[in-house]
Assembly symmetry: C2
Homo-oligomer: 499 residues x 2
C-alpha cells in the first residue's frame, strides 16, 4: 500500500480550526469511527490551551457518537448539515451553539459541487479496501461520500477490517455530471444498477490510512410494536389494499419508501402479514431489521437504499447469507433520494409527522416550532415526488395531552400540496381531490383523536372564511395551551382572542 | 371531415350536471373560447328551470373569461383545479362557493391518470386543425391537453380559424408512461424535442367540431417598470453576475424560469440590458411580450414554455417572423414544469412572493392566510428543483402599510429548504449555508424595508430560543395588526402577549 499508515491522532492533526470536513456514511452506518473522536480530543486540547478550534461537518445524514457525539461534547462543532439525530448535538443546536442547516438529503451533494458551501478541506471516509490507484470499496452506507471524494482537497481513510470482503458489489456509485452537462439517471426499476461497485479517489489526495477494527451495525433496537403503532400499520395496509381494488395502484404494486422508527417498523410488519399485498420492492434511504426479515421471506423482492441501518445481529445475518446479496444496493443519497427516480418509478412514500394541521401541512422536524428534533431528512425528497405520499403519526401523545392534529402547525416542512394521505391510529384521511375546508373535515373526522375533535371543529367555527379558514388570534392556541397548561385539551379560545 | 359540425350550443348539450370536464390551454392562451360560455348559458337555463347544474373544471393553469369568468358568473362551477387567476372566480372560491384545489402544475396530469380524480367525462380542446385519423395541431398553449385527450370519454373540438398554419411544429407533445413503465424524459437542453408536433385523439371519442374565429393573444398588458420593480431587476442582475464571478454559475449561464407579472417583466428587462449576462435559454411555463423582445434581440437563444402568453400585437409579430419559430417550443405542463428536467438542466428559478418570513418560508398564494390570490402555479415545481431558487417581492406595499417580510408567513407554499435567495428593492438576502437565525438576520438586514427592521429585530428578541426562534403569542402579529389597524407598522407586541 502506497499510503502512509497513521494513527487516528496523527490523522486528526491535519484538521485545523474552521475547516470544512466531510464524513462518509448515512446515519451511523458507514461513518468514520476513530478520526472524528480524535479531532474532538484535539479540540479539547486546543481549547485548554486557549485556542479556538471548531469545524464544520458535512455528512450524508445523521452520524454516530464518535462524530456528532464526541465533537459536540467537545464544543468542536461550528456548523452541521444536512441532518442529525443525536440528543447531545440536538441540545447544542437548540441552544444556538451549533449552526445547523436542515437540508433535503438529495440536494447537499450537488449544492456542494455548485460551490454554495465553499471548498471542502478534508473528507474522512470509512472503507473496506483501497487500492494504490484509488479504488475504494465503501462501508455499510454511501451517503455523500462519492462527492466528498471528488471535492475534498485531502482525504483521510479509515480502513475497517470488520467490513467483510463480500460487501463488494453492494454499492452502486453514480455521481451525476452538473448542469449543463447532466444526463438522465439510468434507473427504471428499484434494482437497476446505475454506476460502479467502487468509488474512486485521486491517490495524491490521500493523507493516509487509519486502520480500525470496529464492529458494524447498531446497538440500539426499536421498541416493539404496540397497540397504537399496530393500528397505524393495519390502517396503512387497509388503505393500500383498497387502492389496488379501486385501480388507483397497479396490481403489480409499486416500490415503497419507509422512514425509520417504530411506526415504520409496525407498517412493514403489517405489510408482511397481509394476504393481499403482493411481494414488493423498496426504493428508500434506510433499511432496518424489519426489511431484512422481508428480504428473507421474499415479501420484499429488492431493497434500494443509501444505508444498511441494521442491528449488529441483523448485519451478521445479512453477511452470512450470500443469497440475499443480489437483493440489495446501496446508492449515494443524491440517487437514493432523487426526485427524478422517485417520480419515474412511482414510489409510495411513508413518513412520520411530528404534527399535522387540519389543512394537511406537516411538521417533521421542530417540536413546538422552535426545538429541532432530528431534521427533515429524506421525507421531502420522497413526499414531493411520490406516486402516493402518506404521513403517519399517532393521533395523540403523552397520555393525550398532545394532539398531533392541530389548527396550524408550528413549523412547516411539507405543504398540503405534497400530502395525499394522513394515517393515524384513528383512521385514514384522504386529501386527494379535496379543497382545504373539505380536507379539514376529513382530517378532523378520520385522523384526529376523538378528545380533540370538538376543539378542532370549534376552531373552524371561529375562523375567518376564505379558501383556507384561519383565526390568527387562535391559530397556535393548541401550542400555547400546552406551554401554559401542559395539556392541549385545556385550550380555552377566549383566553387568546384579542379584544 | 368525418366529424359532425356543431354549434357551441349543440356541443354544450353533451355536458351534464356533475361532470368532470377538461379544458385545453394554459393561462388564457389555448383555452376553448366558445363552448364553456355555452355551458354557462345552459347552466343558467337549468337553474332557471329549478335544476341543479354545476361542473368540475380541470385545466392546465388559469383559463379565460369565457371559461372561469362565464362559468363562475353563472354559478356553474362546483370544483376547479389546478390554478386560477380571475377576480370573479377568486371571489366565489373565497366565499366557499367553488371547491378549488391548488396543485403543483406538473402533477395534475399524472394524478388524473393515476385515478385520483375519477373519470373525465368530456374534454374541450381548441385546435388549429384535426385530421380524420385524430391528429391535432393544438393552439397557443399545451397545458394538460394531451392527457385530457387520453383520459376523457368524449372530446369536443373547437377549430379556430385564427390559428395560423405556421403554428404546426411549435408543439412538443410527450406524455410519459405511468409507473412502473415510465422512462426518462429525453430533454437535456431547453431546446431538445422530446415528442411529436401533433397531439392525438381517438376519432371515435370526438363528439363534434365547433368552428370558431377567435383572436389570439391577450388584451391586457402589464404596467410598465417602475422604481421598485426596476430596483428588483437590477438586484437580480447584480446577484447573477456575482454568481458567475464567484464560479457558482457556469460562464455559459443556465436556463431561466421566470413567472408572470410586472416584476418578472422588470427582471427580464434588466437581464436584456446587462452587459455581463450572456445570451441565455429559458425553460419556463409562460413567455410574455418581454421574452419575444429577447428572442428578437438574441438575448434569449431558446424559450421552452407551456404557453405563448403574448399580447395580441406580440402574437401577430411572432407569427409574422418565421425565423423565430425554431426558437420556441410549447410542451405539456407535465414536461415544462417537470422536476426531472428542471433539476437536470439546472434551471435558475425566479418567482414572486406575496410574503416571506424571516426564516425564508414563502407564501405565494393566500393573502393574510385565508384569501386565495391566484394559486401556487408552477412556482413549487421550479423552486424545489432549481439550480438556484430566487424569490422576488417589493419589500413593502400599500404605502408601506404592509411589510412583505413578516415574522411568520400566514400560509406556506415553499418551505425554507427550497429557498436560496430572496430579492427585494432593498437588496439580496442569500440564505445558502445559513442556519435559520443567521438567515433571519440576513433577511431583516438585506431584504426587509427599513421601516420594519426594528419591529422584526424586536420580534426575534421576544422569541423563544431554539434552532428556529418563535414567539407563539406574536408570530402572526403583523397580520393581526393589519386587520385591526390597517397598518403593520402599528404592531404593538404588548397587545398580543397573553398574561
Amino acid at each position: 500500500m502506497i499510503y502512509p499508515i497513521l494513527t487516528a491522532e496523527e490523522a486528526a492533526q491535519f484538521v485545523k480550526n474552521g475547516m470544512n470536513v466531510g464524513v462518509s456514511g448515512f446515519t451511523a452506518p458507514g461513518c468514520p469511527k476513530k478520526v472524528p473522536a480524535a479531532i474532538a480530543a484535539l479540540a479539547r486540547a486546543e481549547h485548554e490551551a486557549g485556542r479556538e478550534f471548531k469545524v464544520n461537518i458535512f455528512s450524508g445524514a445523521s452520524t454516530n457518537d464518535a462524530t456528532d457525539g464526541e465533537l459536540s461534547r467537545s464544543q468542536a462543532l461550528n456548523y452541521r448539515t444536512p441532518y442529525q439525530s443525536l440528543g447531545e448535538l440536538r441540545n447544542h443546536i437548540n441552544a444556538g451553539e451549533v449552526h445547523y442547516n436542515d437540508r433535503h438529503l438529495s440536494e447537499l451533494a450537488q449544492e456542494f459541487r455548485y460551490g454554495y458551501y465553499g471548498k471542502m478541506d478534508i473528507a474522512i471516509v470509512e472503507v473496506q479496501s483501497i487500492t494504490d490507484d484509488g479504488e475504494l470499496v465503501l462501508g455499510t452506507a454511501v451517503g455523500n461520500t462519492p462527492t466528498w471524494l471528488q471535492v475534498a482537497d485531502k482525504v483521510i481513510i479509515e480502513l475497517n477490517d470488520q467490513l467483510p470482503e463480500s460487501i463488494r458489489g453492494l454499492h452502486d456509485i453514480y455521481v451525476p455530471l452538473d448542469p449543463p452537462a447532466r444526463r438522465e439517471i439510468p434507473i427504471y426499476r428499484a434494482g437497476d444498477r446505475a454506476g460502479t461497485p467502487t468509488a474512486h479517489v485521486d491517490p495524491k489526495k490521500v493523507l493516509g490510512v487509519v486502520r480500525t477494527s470496529e464492529p458494524l451495525g447498531l446497538l440500539s433496537k426499536f421498541t416493539p410494536v404496540d397497540d397504537v403503532t399496530r393500528k397505524i400499520g393495519e390502517n396503512v395496509c387497509e388503505f393500500l389494499v383498497n387502492e389496488m381494488r379501486q385501480g388507483r395502484m397497479p396490481k403489480s404494486f409499486l416500490p415503497i419508501q419507509s422512514g425509520v422508527g417504530n411506526i415504520a417498523n409496525a407498517v412493514l410488519d403489517a405489510l408482511e402479514h397481509s394476504d393481499e399485498i403482493p411481494a414488493f420492492e423498496m426504493y428508500t434511504e434506510v433499511v432496518q431489521d424489519s426489511v431484512l426479515k422481508l428480504l428473507e421471506s421474499g415479501h420484499c423482492k429488492f431493497a434500494s437504499t443509501c444505508s444498511m441501518t441494521f442491528s449488529r445481529e441483523a448485519m451478521m445475518e445479512f453477511f452470512s447469507k450470500p443469497e440475499l446479496h443480489d437483493k440489495l444496493l446501496m446508492r449515494p443519497s443524491e440517487i437514493s433520494n432523487n426526485p427524478e427516480v422517485i417520480r419515474r418509478i412511482g414510489v409510495v412514500s411513508m413518513n412520520t409527522a411530528i404534527e399535522a394541521d387540519i389543512f394537511g401541512n406537516i411538521n417533521s422536524s421542530h417540536v413546538s416550532g422552535t426545538r429541532l428534533m432530528n431534521g427533515i431528512g429524506g421525507s421531502g425528497d420522497f413526499t414531493r415526488n411520490a406516486y402516493t405520499s402518506i404521513f403517519l403519526c399517532p393521533s395523540a401523545k403523552n397520555e393525550e395531552c398532545i394532539s398531533t392534529i392541530v389548527p396550524m402547525v408550528s413549523h412547516v416542512d411539507h405543504t398540503c400540496h405534497s400530502v395525499d394521505i394522513i394515517i393515524t391510529d384513528q383512521g385514514v384521511a384522504d386529501l386527494r381531490f379535496k379543497d382545504p375546508i373539505q380536507g379539514a373535515e376529513e382530517i378532523i373526522e378520520h385522523a384526529a383523536h376523538p378528545a380533540y375533535r370538538p376543539l378542532l371543529r370549534e376552531y373552524l367555527a371561529l375562523s375567518k372564511m376564505g379558501h383556507v379558514m384561519q383565526n390568527q388570534d387562535l391559530a397556535l392556541s393548541f401550542h400555547r395551551s400546552l406551554a401554559l397548561e401542559g395539556d392541549m385539551r385545556k385550550t380555552d379560545y377566549s383566553r387568546f382572542a384579542v379584544k
